[in-house]
Assembly symmetry: C2
Homo-oligomer: 200 residues x 2
C-alpha cells in the first residue's frame, strides 16, 4: 500500500495535512479559542461538516501527531530483545522517541505553545498520554509475563512517562539548552539508582 495508495488515499492524506497546517496557522494568529471550526474549514476549503470527518474534536488537530507517537513507543518497546530487563527496555525505547522529538523540534514547539496556552487542549493531551501509559503497561506486562493490572508494570510505565513529561517540560521551558535525549537519559538513570539519597 506504500507505493500505490491510490488517488483517493493520497487526496485524503493531503486534505488532512492541509487542514492541520491551516488550523495551526490560524491558532498562531488568533489563538485556539479565537479560531472557530468554521474558520478552519473555510481556510482549508472544506465544509465544516467535513472537518469532523477528519478530526473528532478541534483539540485533536493540535495533537494529530500523538497517535503515531504512541505507535512508535510501543513498536520500539516490542523490538527490544526479550532478555533486556524492563527498565532498560523502557529506557532504550524512550530514548529513541526523545530523538524523534528532537528532530521535529520546530513543529513540536509550535504545537506546544498551543497546548500550554489552552486548557482544553492540554486536558486532551493528558488524556491521550494516559492511553500511552495503558499501552506501555500492557506491552511491559507481556514482557514480564504478568497481568497489566498488576502494580509493577503500571508503575514502571507511569514513571517512564513521568520522565518524558518532566524532561519535555524542562526542555521547552529552558529554551532547549540541553538536548532532550540527554535529559531523558538522566531521568531514567536517576530512577534506576533510586531516590534513596533523597529519603534519609
Amino acid at each position: 500500500m506504500n507505493p500505490a495508495p491510490g488517488l483517493r488515499e493520497r487526496k485524503k492524506l493531503k486534505t488532512r495535512q492541509r487542514i492541520e497546517a491551516t488550523a495551526l496557522k490560524l491558532f498562531d494568529a488568533h489563538g485556539f479559542d479565537g479560531t472557530t471550526v468554521e474558520a478552519i474549514a473555510d481556510a482549508a476549503e472544506i465544509s465544516p461538516r467535513t472537518f469532523f470527518h477528519y478530526f473528532g474534536t478541534k483539540e485533536d488537530v493540535v495533537l494529530a501527531d500523538y497517535a503515531s507517537r504512541l505507535e512508535r513507543i510501543v513498536d520500539q518497546l516490542q523490538q527490544q530483545p526479550a532478555s533486556e530487563p524492563p527498565w532498560a527496555a523502557l529506557r532504550a525505547s524512550f530514548l529513541v522517541v526523545a530523538a524523534d522529538y528532537d528532530a521535529e523540534r520546530d513543529s513540536l514547539i509550535r504545537r506546544f505553545s498551543v497546548i500550554a496556552a489552552t486548557p482544553s487542549v492540554y486536558a486532551r493531551s493528558l488524556q491521550l498520554q494516559a492511553g500511552w501509559e495503558d499501552a506501555v503497561a500492557a506491552a511491559l506486562a507481556e514482557r514480564m509475563s504478568c497481568r497489566s493490572s498488576e502494580l509493577q508494570p503500571r508503575l514502571l510505565a507511569s514513571c517512564a512517562l513521568s520522565v518524558i513529561r518532566s524532561s519535555l517540560q524542562h526542555w521547552i521551558f529552558t529554551g532547549q539548552e540541553s538536548s532532550l535525549p540527554s535529559l531523558v537519559e538522566t531521568g531514567f538513570d536517576q530512577l534506576a539508582a533510586g531516590f534513596e539519597k533523597l529519603s534519609k
Copy 2:
C-alpha cells in the same frame, strides 16, 4: 468563620452539596452523557444558569473534591519538618492522603466509576492532577531551595503522583483487596530503592 459563617454562606454550601448529590445520583442512573445540565438543575431545584455559578463545567461536579484534596497534599508537605529529605517528605504526605482516600472509599468509588466511564471527565481529572503536580513541584522546590522549573523537583513530584495514580488504579481494579496506604507505601519504597534490578 467556622462557628458562624452566616446564613448566606450556609445556604450556599447546602445548595452546592445538593447539586452535587443530585447530579451523582442522576449520573448513576442515566450515565454522565445521558444527563443534561438542565436535568440536574431541575432535580436540584435551581435554574440551569445557576448551576454554572456553582460549577464551571458539568465535569467539575464529579471532581468537586479535587480542590480540597490538593490543599491537603500541599498542606501536609509543608508541615513536614524541613530537615526531612524530599522523598521522605513526599512519602509521609502522600500516605496521609491515601488514608483520606481509604476513609472515603464509598464516595470515591462512586465518583471513580463515572470518571472511568466518561472520557471528558477523565480528561478533566488528569488536568486537575497536573495542577497538583505543579503545586507539589513548587512546594518541593522551596524545600530544596531551587527553582521549580528544575528537572529534579518536577520529576519527584511527577513520580510521586505516578505512585498514587497507579496504586489507586490497582486498588480500585482489584476491589480494594489490599489497603491503599500499603500500596502507596510499597510504591514509594520501590522508587526509593530504584529500578536498578530491573535494569541489568
